[in-house]
Symmetry: C2
Subunit: 339 residues, 2 copies
């Protein structure tokens, strides 16, 4: 980001008719977008896109989810027909939804609206060995970068990321455990809604995966390949692509933040282009946001994924842009400043 | 509210293609709006209005604010010219801003866009006696009810409330102290940005006001008249009017929630029409939201007032309405349900 533009944006924010800093995170967003767009007055996005990646997880064989794996392709078709929550929220926010199969298990999904970029038909069960090879992880990352470049052409742009994949809170928990060193028991949540007995089983599965694979926390690619997922890799690639293209990327919940941890591990400066949208119900999500140094805007006890939290944050980000552009200064409005 | 419609809305929400409850507060909003509108499928508002009331506070003579009292009428003119934060956020949300002088000190403000309904030219300094008479408090409440009825004609409607008044975090702190019994020191914050020394002085002023006036926590009108404010009374009236008209009313920050406590004290059922927007930086605000039993959507460290948090929540409330109307059910989408 252009820190000179951030500085100029901050000066303007401090002269607008409000006590300095009183718009909180709205001011942070306006300042950071100035830096990302490289202009003291950030402009409204010309293009808003929700990129939704679908991938399956071999670890579902361990019984970690309340939903069967067949739901992944079923929901992909629901996205393509416009009936899912992400479709409704993106439409409302004026954003386009792009759905990509980067790693769904089972037969190829036939639908003209789908981006078919499947790297592998679901990951392998990581309690027995790595989820994927290092080469597959690299390919999935590159797939995400390519997807971003192909789908987002206009500037300024605003990108939200989301996912679908039965079992992916288990993989994300393993990624967080690997990077943070925290015990699985402490950071394992209820995902789509499992009971306490199953949650404890899920935590034990994550612990086993870490023992078997021994991912190296200093090597993001190692963590990704051993205990990650294909949609997590793809989202990490999108984040890297956004940083390269200087596009703000809005994170969603727990799984997208696992991707953000991978992206930051591979390219620390990519964090400068991340915006947090919401804090989800998943207990590890707050820890991830803390690790990433990001402040979420929304706290609505959501736990759906798909990019729903990110899409819900689009209007707030646009409001922040309008604030810095449209508010009057103290001098313009003839209002006395404070002490 | 119509609890039968709430029940029908909940049944539909549970059949939409997502794990039950996974959209969190978004689902709560959709269900509650169904009850308020009296239909299982709530409709988007035909009219959105931000009602902003301005009033002054005699207690500023004690040096409790970082800004001089002249800022109240200056900001009223800024609202009327469209240069304040509430103008920007309401415009972005497609809402109309209505500005009313219910109790500004000094000469009458001449502007054709202003609703002049001044009850009194600022409250009296409540460290020496009541802020206003019981009759003045009733008149200010009635003024709020009338304002709501005159300004909001279409249905369904969505109303946000906001305020401007130098010194009004001091009055709101006194209102919270009176209703909660909590010590002023614990619930007094920095308002528009005073330092720690001044914050302690402000807490002492609130304690003194309570000792001098002895407001009766069981009598909302007594609390309002003795340690409230004219804009607080007007907002409480708007809330009562919204409940009578079955219109959802979106609360803003600390001062609007002081008004909500007064409204609930006078008419407990009015709480059923309140929606919380954000949790502000002011430490007492979280306590008020807890007392009101409301869950805020946004946590953005805002502390501006004017109705800015409420306006920022309008698109989220509309998104909740779209969710229940537009998402596919499991049966429609051919998606397998969980266990």
């Amino acid at each position: 980001p252009d820190y000179n533009c951030e500085e100029l944006a901050q000066q303007r924010l401090d002269n607008l008719t409000k006590p300095p800093g009183s718009l909180g995170v709205l001011e942070d967003i306006a300042r950071r977008l100035a830096g990302m767009q490289g202009t003291p007055l950030p402009r409204l996005p010309q293009e808003k896109v929700s990129l939704v990646l679908a991938g399956d997880h071999g670890v579902v064989a361990e019984g970690v989810s309340a939903f069967p794996q067949e739901v992944t392709p079923q929901m992909v078709l629901n996205f393509l027909r416009g009936g899912a929550a992400i479709n409704v929220l993106a439409r409302r926010a004026g954003a386009r939804v792009v759905v990509a199969d980067i790693g769904v298990a089972g037969p190829v999904i036939a639908h003209e609206g789908l981006v078919n970029c499947r790297v592998k038909a679901g990951t392998d069960n990581f309690v027995h060995g790595p989820a994927m090879s290092r080469q597959e992880a690299v390919t999935a990352l590159e797939t995400g970068i390519t997807l971003l470049k192909q789908q987002v052409k206009q500037r300024p742009a605003l990108v939200g990321i989301g996912e679908m994949g039965i079992g992916n809170t288990t993989a994300s928990t393993a990624v967080l455990a690997a990077f943070s060193g925290l015990p699985a028991e402490q950071i394992t949540g209820r995902g789509t809604g499992i009971d306490e007995t199953r949650r404890q089983h899920k935590a034990a599965v994550v612990e086993r995966a870490l023992k078997v694979n021994r991912p190296d926390a200093r090597d993001g690619l190692d963590v990704l390949a051993k205990v990650g997922g294909l949609e997590i890799a793809g989202m990490a690639g999108i984040i890297l692509g956004c940083a390269a293209e200087k596009i703000p990327v809005v994170l969603d919940g727990f799984i997208s933040c696992a991707a953000a941890l991978v992206a930051r591990s591979l390219a620390p400066l990519s964090a400068a282009y991340m915006l947090a949208s919401h804090r989800s119900q998943e207990p590890g999500h707050a820890i991830m946001l803390e690790m990433l140094g990001l402040k979420p805007m929304l706290q609505m006890a959501m736990r759906l994924g798909e990019g729903t939290g990110a899409a819900l944050a689009f209007p707030i980000i646009e409001a922040a842009i309008c604030i810095i552009n449209e508010m009057a200064t103290f001098a313009e409005a003839g209002v006395s400043q404070g002490e």
